[in-house]
């Protein structure tokens, strides 16, 4: 077609040299300007909404990491920034030992792909599935033009759709099938990291299982590193190895999935877990007890001073208003980190000792 060299096609090969994380995010912040730009210019003051506010997170090669939190916590913004679809104000992303520039090359873009929540709005209604996939193959030179159709067919079979799907438009598919198309579209570039942003929450219950099983199979088969963004902790427990809990643009707890569910340390995580409806629940007890987490999440325009969870926290103290807790590891267990003064015994010494008070 374009006659460009097709050498990039082999870029799927992963260098196994490094044992460090495949992808490492440090100090990432993303803000949005809100309110009138004109008024801001006159007053020399722009109101900023800090959607992501200093996030450090590692993604290990081949793992499935979950990012959970309430809506408005910044999960999706983080995914977009990670995929290079939205610029970050601060922080850097290291991929496979190399810092990604703010404007990514095509070959960098290719390595991180996203499956979005709503398969009804994330697929172009005027392109056939084949058209969609061939466009990506052509732009990124994934395989030589002559092999494109065979490659698409193979990919569609992999995600559980027939070759016939090539000639069909998105409207001809059900929700679950559309999500399979979206997954095929993300995989066509042979990414190393797949970000799935609430991939099943727009689907019917009985269909959710098929998509979750597909993601688990693909991960095993292709050795994908998966970042699953979800508000459904049951889904997370089923599919992931590690969990990062996000609250108001910060990571407040990171732990292996088993530890997070059996021994949560941040009061927010505890509340999230307690709020999950259970098949064995008892309505009479429901009526008696207080809520798992009280109140609403504050606006990201007015992030509380000190610990940002303190306005809803059942164990908040005066210290929490004064000092912003840092994400610290449990002594002797670097895999479990929490950003709470009282996460691992009473007040985490490091937080106040090294003067990490950050008055916002």
């Amino acid at each position: 077609m374009t006659g460009a060299p097709s050498g990039v096609a082999s870029a799927g090969a992963i260098s196994d040299a490094g044992t460090g994380p495949l992808l490492s995010v440090s100090g990432m912040s993303v803000s949005f300007a809100v309110g009138s730009r004109l008024a801001a210019r006159i007053k020399h003051e722009q109101r900023m909404l800090r959607a992501i506010d200093g996030v450090d997170l590692d993604l290990r090669r081949g793992e499935a990491l979950a990012l959970v939190g309430e809506s408005g916590s910044g999960k999706s913004t983080f995914a977009l920034a990670l995929a290079g679809l939205r610029p970050a104000d601060r922080g850097q992303i290291t991929f496979d030992g190399r810092v990604l520039p703010s404007r990514r090359s095509k070959s960098d873009q290719r390595r991180i792909q996203v499956v979005f929540q709503d398969p009804y709005s994330s697929l172009n209604p005027r392109l056939t599935v084949g058209g969609m996939l061939r466009e990506l193959i052509r732009v990124h030179h994934v395989v030589p033009a002559g092999e494109a159709d065979a490659y698409c067919a193979q990919l569609l079979t992999l995600v559980g759709l027939g070759e016939d799907a090539m000639r069909a438009y998105p409207r001809q598919f059900s929700g679950g099938q559309r999500q399979r198309v979206a997954i095929a579209r993300a995989l066509v570039l042979r990414p190393e990291v797949l970000i799935a942003d609430e991939p099943v929450s727009a689907l019917d219950v009985s269909v959710q299982a098929t998509i979750l099983n597909l993601l688990a199979e693909l991960r095993a088969e292709l050795g994908l590193t998966l970042l699953l963004i979800s508000h459904n902790l049951a889904v997370v427990r089923h599919l992931c190895d590690r969990v990062a809990v996000m609250y108001l643009g910060r990571i407040v707890e990171v732990a292996p999935v088993g530890q997070l569910f059996s021994d949560p340390r941040h009061p927010y995580t505890k509340g999230l877990l307690a709020a999950i409806p259970r098949l064995t629940a008892n309505p009479a007890e429901e009526a008696e007890g207080g809520p798992a987490v009280a109140g609403d999440m504050p606006s990201a325009l007015r992030i509380p001073v000190g610990c940002r969870f303190r306005t809803r926290c059942p164990i908040a103290q005066e210290l929490c208003e004064r000092a912003d807790p840092q994400l610290l590891a449990e002594p002797g267990n670097s895999g479990h980190q929490a950003a709470c003064h009282f996460a691992f015994g009473s007040p985490a010494p490091a937080a106040s000792a090294n003067g990490s008070v950050q008055p916002y």
Binding site: V207, A209, I276, R278
Partner: protein, 347 residues
């Protein structure tokens, strides 16, 4: 009582059920033919209890609710059945009579509060509207009641928020406003159409607790439509499972969800990830729900059923009583029992 004449007209025997739906049929005319959206559904709602109605989208659960409230879309109509509220059959009633029942006796909470609330009317007055229209309250008395209701549903700073508009509220607070509106005329039963589906898990927990408390304290009954089984377990005493316009199983919540007697219920439970019981892989229900223009013969679930036998394809499967006050539509429910025994749903 403004509806004293209606109550007096009820000749039926006194019963512990606020609402009794019997053999309800709703048909929708479409270009492709007549869709039998609700096909012979019977439900009883005891006073002060919450009844869950679960099923996939398109199973007819929302249509059932709309039929009870008398707000079916113009192309849909009730072709048979009775909906008895306090002994009075609502089906033959004209719109004017229904208007006197909706509010004081029957109200509804919708899934998406932002599209159910009036965006240009202060929420306080939206809550006060029902009492003013239905109960003849004065403006000031209705406003007082609205503030009181806002407090009761847990809206902080009620006097001040009375004057707020819906867009100034968070999703959870809007749903609380919807609940306050539903409660405003002290109804006997509130129909809830997936009221927590659009909410975060923490806010869902708050709303479910609020509804459970209302049920217990004010004796109001609920029909709670959802596709989320654990949510039903959290709130309801009874549950009815709906598939392709029919009820396939009904009974006490813990019996039905933890020890099902219908393969569809079992399929729903096993296909959803459960925090309490992590399985190696989820078991999806194969296939997709059938067209309701030409539903499958015999048991409607038979094309997707792992336990299907010859008679399932031909024999009609009405709901039948089992010991223990529960019912199933499955001809071979023993097979389901065996499967449940083999792998306990919750160990």
């Amino acid at each position: 009582m403004t509806d004293g004449d209606l109550t007096a007209a009820a000749a039926g025997p006194a019963s512990a059920n606020v609402l009794e739906v019997s053999d309800l049929h709703v048909e929708i005319s479409t270009r492709r033919g007549v869709v039998r959206a609700v096909d012979g559904v019977s439900l009883q709602v005891p006073r002060g209890e919450a009844v869950g109605l679960v099923g996939e989208s398109g199973s007819g659960k929302s249509m059932t609710l709309r039929a009870i409230l008398g707000v079916l879309p113009p192309e849909a109509k009730i072709t048979a059945g009775q909906i008895r509220l306090d002994g009075v059959d609502l089906v033959p009633l004209p719109g004017s009579a229904l208007n006197r029942i909706r509010g004081p006796k029957l109200s509804m909470i919708f899934q998406e509060p932002m599209s159910a609330l009036n965006p240009v009317m202060r929420v306080g007055w939206q809550i006060a509207e029902g009492p003013r229209v239905h109960l003849g309250y004065s403006r000031s008395k209705a406003a007082e009641l609205a503030v009181e209701l806002m407090r009761r549903v847990g809206i902080p700073d009620a006097e001040r928020r009375f004057k707020a508009y819906p867009h100034e509220f968070s999703g959870g607070m809007r749903q609380r406003v919807m609940i306050a509106i539903a409660l405003s005329c002290d109804p006997e039963i509130i129909l809830c159409d997936e009221p927590t589906t659009a909410l975060d898990v923490t806010i869902q927990d708050q709303i479910l607790r609020l509804l459970a408390r209302l049920c217990r304290d004010s004796g109001v009954s609920l029909i709670f439509v959802t596709h989320d089984l654990p949510v039903v377990a959290q709130l309801c005493q009874q549950v009815a499972v709906m598939y392709a316009g029919e009820l396939v199983e009904r009974g006490a919540v813990h019996d039905v969800l933890l020890d099902p007697r219908h393969p569809y219920t079992l399929g729903l439970v096993r296909s959803a990830p459960d925090v309490e019981h992590v399985r190696d892989s989820l078991v999806p229900i194969p296939g997709s729900p059938p067209s309701l223009v030409h539903p499958p013969s015999g048991c409607r679930f038979h094309p997707r059923c792992p336990f299907v036998e010859e008679d399932c394809r031909v024999q009609p499967t009405p709901l039948r009583q089992l010991p223990g006050g529960r019912s199933t539509a499955c001809l071979h429910y023993e097979r389901v029992v065996e499967s449940v025994e083999a792998e306990r749903i919750v160990p």
